[in-house]
Symmetry: C2
């Protein structure tokens, strides 16, 4: 059917009543009533439809179709249909969603995506390098100096640590002004393009103002945590402003920490990020201080770049655990359509941040 | 210390390096750098502090203090400090938060709470009864008739099903107008007070308009899903408007489905709801179609009503699985400071919704 969204779920636990559990999802995500209380018309037009059930060793793979009329073109209601109430049930993992082309045409998706970011950065085929300003509590002046020094060393995107919000010792507007100017100063010396990406994650009545302030004051992108502000707020920022969005995974981790509950990695850090307007999706790299496997990271890349009709491909941004000796393997794993985010590694290599940045950047370009 | 937020975590899994894992939380939630790269000043002012570690059978209970300066008075950054990055780590459950009084004084919390809702409903000591308009796909005219009939039967709050957004067959404005008027018509006949509570969960650029439209057109409260719009958007609605907020748990379930990850029930459905301005917190009752235990439900009630300085107590709203024969036990479990949400039960008891409503309502009042 043209007008249905097909959702893939894995049902863990008791496998004796899978048909019933699957139909329960069809009801729970739409009418929230027992089948016996429904008219034929409601049952046929509103309730989800079981399209297939496949039994695997540990779980059953179920595909359910939901009417696009039920999901509407509002991201909040779409998310609700995909996983709202059943997020509360144990043993359901949502692994993928197939959207009709017509449905996707109602979403703008990423304004930049891979192609737009490459155009902004004027880099046609190398991987990109990103770092973070930290630690919180360092004066804004000092952070701006770090930004300047990283820019001198050829880092492409320099983002705020996502914990930098508007602390009294790291006031937002001052930080944005100082860091933007510092990066511009470096750019004028090097003739290269480095972009400062401030964190605009903030209360609902401030996030648009922070984005506007950043755009007006020379920022080159936005960092935002959709797990904190809501996925749809990121979508709104994407539609209203003209800078690429780096999406940070804070508070989204619980959706993937349990094998038998929540979302697949590729969906929450890939496909849904694109639908919600992210241009680059940050996630913890394997081998770093978080527990994602190599396969999970690769699945995120696929979620970021697989064909999705009018919705652009976006950069996967594996973060953390990157040291010089790992670069060849990381390029082998992620390919060149990647932004590598190096945090602690750039601060600890030596005390000269520009030299550290050059070192990583040149090594990466040659790889 | 006066200026620290004390956070309780349970650390599951490997218990041999708990001190290290606890300190990792202190770093991860603040500076995101290894300790060796920190100055003494940053370490003492910014990094979280381990306050206690207690070893239990299955986990270690850890208390960590975070500076209120780091958390700021922004709910988004507070949530980030509590669980942002570590949501991505396996085996960490956040179970409680102790806030300094000064910190809480910067939050308005619920505008109504239990006392405000009782004042609105003019009910001093009985439990309250709530139901939901459903199923989606029923015409707005028909939903309004349901609302009228429920109101005739003495239901106190009649909310939209949270899946009703702005579908073309359940258009928002028409629904709000029709249902508000239908309830007002019933109130004028009965002389009682019933309130219609439309679902304002919607895209970030529409949620304030929907709230405004509802308030202007006779709604008696708002239903909102903070898991879909973001916790802070609910806070904003609470500050900007003058109707009680019923918070719905859609998409928040994953935070509690795993015993070893995410949030405690009392925190996500209790304390944090209050901080974010909910006046009533809906959660799935035990014995219904979701898997919460009686103990978990009781812990949510405590989260809704335990003393929290200037932040009002709010109504727990156990939902689902309520049949007449269960009412005495439910009152025994939850007490009278409860709004009981009966959905399917009110539709299925008989085909006369007014009679069904009277039946439940009179039975509840006598209990």
């Amino acid at each position: 059917m043209e007008n249905q969204i097909i959702v893939h779920y894995q049902l863990f636990g008791d496998q004796t009543n899978i048909q019933e559990r699957a139909y329960d999802i069809c009801l729970e995500q739409t009418v929230e009533l027992p089948d016996k209380l429904l008219t034929d018309e409601i049952r046929s037009k509103i309730v989800g439809k079981i399209l297939s059930i496949e039994t695997k060793t540990e779980y059953s793979q179920v595909r359910i179709g939901f009417s696009t009329d039920v999901a509407t073109y509002e991201l909040t209601q779409l998310l609700n249909v995909l996983f709202g109430n059943i997020s509360i049930k144990v043993g359901i993992k949502i692994t993928d969603v197939e959207f009709p082309q017509e449905y996707l045409s109602h979403f703008s998706g990423p304004k930049f995506g891979i192609s737009g970011i490459r155009k902004q950065a004027k880099l046609t085929d190398s991987p990109l390098l990103c770092t973070a300003l930290k630690p919180m509590g360092t004066s804004n002046l000092q952070l701006a100096e770090y930004a300047h020094n990283f820019a001198m060393g050829g880092i492409h995107y320099i983002k705020d640590d996502h914990g930098l919000s508007n602390q009294r010792f790291n006031e937002y507007k001052e930080r944005v002004e100082l860091c933007s100017k510092a990066v511009a100063r470096a750019n004028s010396k090097t003739g290269q393009l480095t972009f400062y990406v401030p964190n605009i994650t903030s209360p609902s009545d401030q996030v648009l103002m922070r984005a506007e302030f950043a755009q007006k004051n020379g920022a080159g992108g936005f960092l935002i945590c959709p797990g904190l502000v809501g996925m749809d707020t990121m979508r709104l920022i994407s539609e209203r402003f003209d800078l690429p969005i780096f999406s940070h995974p804070a508070m989204l981790g619980t959706f993937v920490t349990s094998k038998e509950n929540g979302f697949s990695h590729s969906l929450i850090f890939g496909k849904l990020q694109r639908l919600a307007g992210a241009d680059a999706s940050i996630f913890p790299n394997y081998g770093g201080r978080f527990g994602f496997s190599k396969e999970e990271c690769i699945s995120i890349c696929k979620g970021c770049t697989d064909n999705l009709s009018n919705i652009k491909s976006i950069f996967p941004v594996p973060a953390g655990g990157m040291t010089l000796d790992k670069i060849p393997e990381m390029i082998d794993t992620f390919g060149k359509e990647t932004i590598f985010l190096v945090g602690g590694g750039l601060y600890s290599h030596s005390s000269d941040l520009t030299e550290n940045a050059k070192y990583f950047s040149q090594f990466l370009m040659k790889s």
